[in-house]
């Protein structure tokens, strides 16, 4: 509001309802009072000494009080988990954690016959499921409502993706420690796939993007691992390639950051 506060005389004239106060000054005082709590305190002090005004205020207050008593706004400061996740994402995250646990069990106890640890095979692709739950029309009942709000778009998608990673990366790191899979070996593909899903999601929709990448992962990594017992793409020599995918994904994401406010439809 304006930095210039009305003078005491002006506030007094306003409080008394002086008829000789010109309309433009009256409006200016009124507009200022709406936004300035300090001047409202001065107004209240001024009004306290005027029986007419206090009587009027009492009448108004008595009339309003029953309605105000019935109306109870929620207490402020209720924790807002929904700013970071939706109720839809929780079961998906729980499932992913469970799948990771199963992968660890397989690796440790069931005498996994293949040459590649199931943790390494699954950990990079699992965040895709979380990302899908974060922003897919078919999975989120309130998707249409959310998509029409100002917060919809890349920042909200990134926020929810961060939640997915914040939950899953520690779990996968623990799984890696338990099974002896090197950190870089799963973390880099994991981040690369997530970035690629978000980048591709801007073009064909996040749900479809995660499905496409999931299929690609199955064909290029899971299938050879199961049939041949090796995963050429996950060898240490492949790491620069994954780093490249990660950089490319982030680049595309930044370049097309405005494409996320409307749903990608048919051209």
């Amino acid at each position: 509001m304006s930095a210039q506060h009305p003078s005491d005389a002006l506030v007094r004239a306003y409080t008394r309802g002086d008829t000789d106060l010109p309309a433009d000054r009256l409006w200016a005082v009124e507009a200022h009072l709406e936004g300035c709590s300090g001047c409202r305190a001065r107004l209240a002090a001024e009004a306290g000494g005027l029986p007419d005004v206090t009587a009027l205020l009492t009448t108004v207050r008595d009339g309003l009080e029953p309605g105000l008593a019935a109306s109870r706004p929620a207490a402020r400061g209720a924790r807002r988990v929904t700013a970071w996740t939706t109720p839809v994402m929780a079961p998906w995250l729980a499932t992913i954690v469970a799948v990771t646990a199963v992968a660890v069990l397989l690796d440790r106890t069931a005498r996994w016959s293949g040459g590649v640890s199931p943790v390494l095979l699954l950990a990079p692709a699992l965040p895709l499921a979380g990302v899908a739950a974060a922003w897919t029309r078919g999975l989120d009942p309130a998707f249409e409502l959310t998509a029409a709000t100002p917060r919809a778009g890349l920042p909200l998608l990134l926020r929810r993706t961060l939640t997915v990673l914040a939950v899953l990366l520690p779990v996968h790191a623990t799984a890696g420690l338990l099974t002896g899979v090197a950190l870089a070996q799963w973390l880099l593909p994991s981040l690369a796939l997530t970035a690629a899903a978000l980048a591709l999601g801007g073009v064909i929709g996040v749900g479809r993007a995660t499905a496409v990448l999931g299929v690609l992962w199955s064909a290029a990594v899971l299938a050879p691992a199961v049939t041949l017992g090796s995963a050429p793409l996950l060898r240490p020599g492949g790491l620069p390639g994954w780093a490249g995918v990660l950089v490319l994904g982030v680049g595309v994401l930044l370049a097309r950051r405005r494409a996320y406010t409307t749903s990608p439809g048919p051209r």
Partner: protein, 269 residues
């Protein structure tokens, strides 16, 4: 709860109509245009968007809500083209939208859900509890505000949908079939709420019920197969009908007359 008067209220308006579509087309599949060359201006008031099922009403509303991108032509909201996606954020703060299929989170209470939408609409944190309370009271759900959504009846869920749409005091309010699931008494209350909202904002209500339009709207937009057939007052619509048209009220007869003109020899369904 006071609505804070701010710069947005006092700034001079730079547009003639809240909504202005020029030759707008929206493609929904490879071979179907749901909106086909629509030119339309809507200002402050309650506008009834009337048309048979499949006329393209939902697609039009979703385009107005900036969820769908126009394929051709242009759409301006508050004088700004929606093609500039950098402005979407700013435009959407001033829009309220109730989709036809209103999805919600069952485990949320009414207050949590409306508050969540208020947060998504980027309302200032300190304004949210008051705004939520006011919106919930306006749709008559104050008593149920702390109940979970899954415990509500269909009509109540619909009213929560209306509450979330009006929580940010939108200048453009888009309601897609809002009266579905409301009982007759609720429908009457809803109509008076519509009239009240239409005094200060541009309200677009899509419906296929002629009587909703008659009771609550200041303006009728008749829409079929993606094209504008008629825009005018409910009285104008009634005047378009003759007594030999099918229908139980003057409005229904006007509706049938205008629709049969456009159908021209197509099957009766």
């Amino acid at each position: 709860m006071t609505a804070t008067s701010g710069v947005a209220d006092t700034a001079p308006r730079t547009y003639a109509h809240e909504i202005h579509a020029h030759d707008l087309t929206v493609r929904v599949s490879r071979d179907r245009l749901a909106v086909d060359g629509l030119t339309l201006s809507l200002g402050v008031g309650t506008h009834g968007l009337l048309g048979p099922n499949g006329a393209g009403k939902t697609t039009l509303i979703r385009t107005l809500a900036t969820v769908l991108r126009p394929t051709g032509g242009d759409l301006e909201l508050f004088g700004h083209s929606v093609r500039d996606s950098g402005r979407h954020r700013e435009l959407r703060r001033r829009i309220g939208y109730l989709p036809q299929e209103f999805g919600y989170y069952k485990r949320f209470t009414v207050r949590e859900f409306v508050g969540y939408l208020a947060w998504l609409k980027e309302m200032p944190d300190r304004d949210i509890p008051g705004a939520v309370q006011r919106a919930v009271e306006r749709v008559g759900l104050a008593e149920r505000a702390d109940d979970r959504m899954k415990s509500l009846s269909g009509g109540m869920v619909r009213r929560v949908g209306i509450a979330q749409a009006i929580v940010n005091d939108p200048a453009v309010l888009l309601l897609d079939e809002p009266t579905v699931g409301l009982d007759p008494a609720q429908r009457l209350q809803f109509r008076s709420l519509l009239k009240e909202l239409g005094r200060e904002s541009c309200v677009v209500v899509s419906t296929h019920l002629v009587e909703d339009v008659a009771a609550a709207c200041t303006d009728v937009v008749l829409f079929d197969r993606g094209r504008l057939l008629f825009q005018g007052t409910p009285d104008d619509l009634a005047a378009a009908g003759t007594s030999d048209q099918p229908g139980d009220s003057p409005l229904e007869r006007g509706y049938s007359a205008l629709l049969s003109d456009s159908a021209q020899g197509k099957g009766s369904w």
